[in-house]
Symmetry: none
Subunit: 209 residues, 4 copies
DNA sequence: AATGAATGAGATTTCATTCAT
DNA sequence: GATGAATGAAATCTCATTCAT
């Protein structure tokens, strides 16, 4: 009995996972508005109506895709950062992870980058829609720890989060639109370098501002 | 005669301007997809069909809105930066201008920030769609000048552009979604500070990296 | 099981047939351009969208109506002509059939006669659009057989087809426009007589018919 | 003064003629429904609104095109047939004229052949719409004269008209759709031959019917 | 008479969602 | 749970016609 239920559950959640996967891929490739529920259903090999057994509606499906991806990312981060001691290193590793993930999952990246901002409509309909919030909080925490540990100087951690994420986000946008001819790794190093040392040359450091 | 012609032209371009203005406002408030042509026509006090005398279709209207705003911004920049000598100051002033403009034209900001990325469909349909290109080039040029003048150290100007714009863009996104409770000026100063001096405190400078 | 499937199929094809029937009627009564999809849907008692489950679009629906009618006509001809031996009689019976069919299915006749030529647009969009082709070929075959059997003299069968069909077609056009006050049967006999004996020959007059 | 009025009139009627000419060409090439008033206006080098100074509306313009063409044809017939004595020759010459005209004025032919039947809508709106009526009457008169003169045997002249016109009409239709690869002259001879001598060979004459 | 900018009614088609099976 | 046929609301865009100039 218990076995059966579990089997059913896993069967059920497999179908759910299939749907999310199919949705991420299709949303990323065609964009939210051009994606038909029937596209996703076909890719997941279920009937159209089945989608509505697992998700409330198309909006909900998109939101669940975001949650899925970002949760996934944060779990990966948990694993990878666990072994690292230095808070600054943790922060830099988080950045690497984000870039790696986007590089390897172009579809997911496209969703996070482009569709995330898609929808003033979403903000209207779901006033608290800002699926990236937890993810940003995660980064903010890392920033705080690095500051508290004295590994970076005292700056507003929220602001720092915004700058880091914004820089990465826009870099990746450019990368996506450039059809990936840009080297994301080089960008990552450049961003780290500039944020790290600032824009002023070492020798000029004392004289300016 | 000349008067009459001019009068006709100006009447015509006034209607065009009215339509663009109405479109920017409506697109910003409801989002591109939820905006009906008839919404815009009503706001501009013309018949629906009239929109199509001035713009090819809804897509074209959105693109023309982008062009209008960004051209406007760059013209304003030209005026303001003319009087400034120091290239670094020019760059910082450009940032200020961007922030000021967004602060004063929330609708335009929303369009630039949110709808600009909206549309994988746009990228598919119009392969060269990236209306912000000229604007980014403008900023890159300022970066280059500041570097050449030795006012900031030798970094890749394209990368710097990406970081600056990405930081601002995401800050403004947060500001828009926070319903403007954040202080954009504070953010601007923070961004300038971090980019300027980097994340490493003076005292720590020797020890790290 | 088999029953169920059949039931589904027949239910499906019944709806399709309903739609075609409704379309033929409406197209004939109002003309293609003045017919709205919603007119047809209403007459077939389905929702507008349902039409698009069975036909690609309005054009396709019209084409399918033609195919349906002409196939129907040729099947009827197959049945009726089977029992007839004499090739000339076959040909004459085919003519009768055509006239009978038009007389009994005024709507279908109207479509075949009037809407069939309606659409330079159709010829442009679908370069092979000439739905009556098979039907004319059918008649040509009968002509050939009558010639080969020596029942009518050696004339170009394609030309003969054109003359027969053209005569009938225009007679029926006149009949349709005259609101059916003309006697189609009398016309049929007249056509047969003239084609048969030609226009000359007072001297032959007495011997024949 | 008189001069001025005449000049005005001719100027006016020139514009009218230009419009009709432009309309015939455009209707023939694109079909009635796909032709925009602005297409015609542009081709006639006048403003859209000007069309409405000469014609009531688009329907009226089409009707006037028919009238223009058919009147033209009948005038040409008057001239050509005047010199001919034999009523049968007159009839055959009329056929030739019709075919020549269509061959030389493909656009006009297309209009007469295809667009003439265009419009159940027309028959609904204008119950007496049958622009070809006078033209058919002309042919009927010729038929009658040939019969009365004993040049062809006693048949119903209306029916004969229908057969002749129907045969020609459908031949020309096929010719138009075949993109003119068919030889109209051969067709004309074939039609004349069959109508003339009938379908029954001399030798078979006695055996049949 | 001539213009052509403006009008606005009108219809096809799409597709998220439902619900009977 | 699963299906997929059916629904029907919704919105872009066209173009004949008008009318102020």
């Amino acid at each position: 009995m218990a076995y059966e239920i579990e089997s059913l559950n896993s069967k059920k959640s497999k179908k759910r996972a299939d749907l999310t996967k199919a949705a991420i891929k299709t949303f990323a490739q065609k964009g939210f508005h051009r994606t038909k529920i029937s596209d996703i259903a076909k890719k997941a090999k279920v009937a159209d109506g089945t989608v509505y057994l697992y998700f409330e509606n198309k909006d909900d499906l998109l939101i669940k895709c975001f949650e899925e991806m970002l949760t996934d990312l944060m779990e990966k981060a948990d694993q990878r950062l666990q072994a690292i001691e230095d808070p600054l290193e943790k922060m830099l590793n988080f950045i690497d992870l984000h870039i790696d993930y986007c590089e390897k999952n172009r579809d997911a990246a496209k969703l996070i980058i482009i569709e995330l901002r898609q929808s003033p409509e979403f903000y209207e309909k779901y006033p608290d829609f800002w699926p990236i919030k937890n993810y940003l909080n995660y980064l903010t925490k890392l920033c705080k720890e690095a500051i508290d540990a004295g590994r970076i100087r005292e700056v507003d951690p929220d602001l720092l989060t915004t700058i880091i994420f914004g820089s990465l986000d826009f870099s990746i946008t450019a990368w996506l639109l450039s059809k990936s001819t840009i080297d994301l790794k080089r960008i990552r190093n450049g961003v780290a370098d500039i944020l790290h040392k600032g824009l002023i040359g070492d020798t000029n450091n004392e004289k300016n501002d």
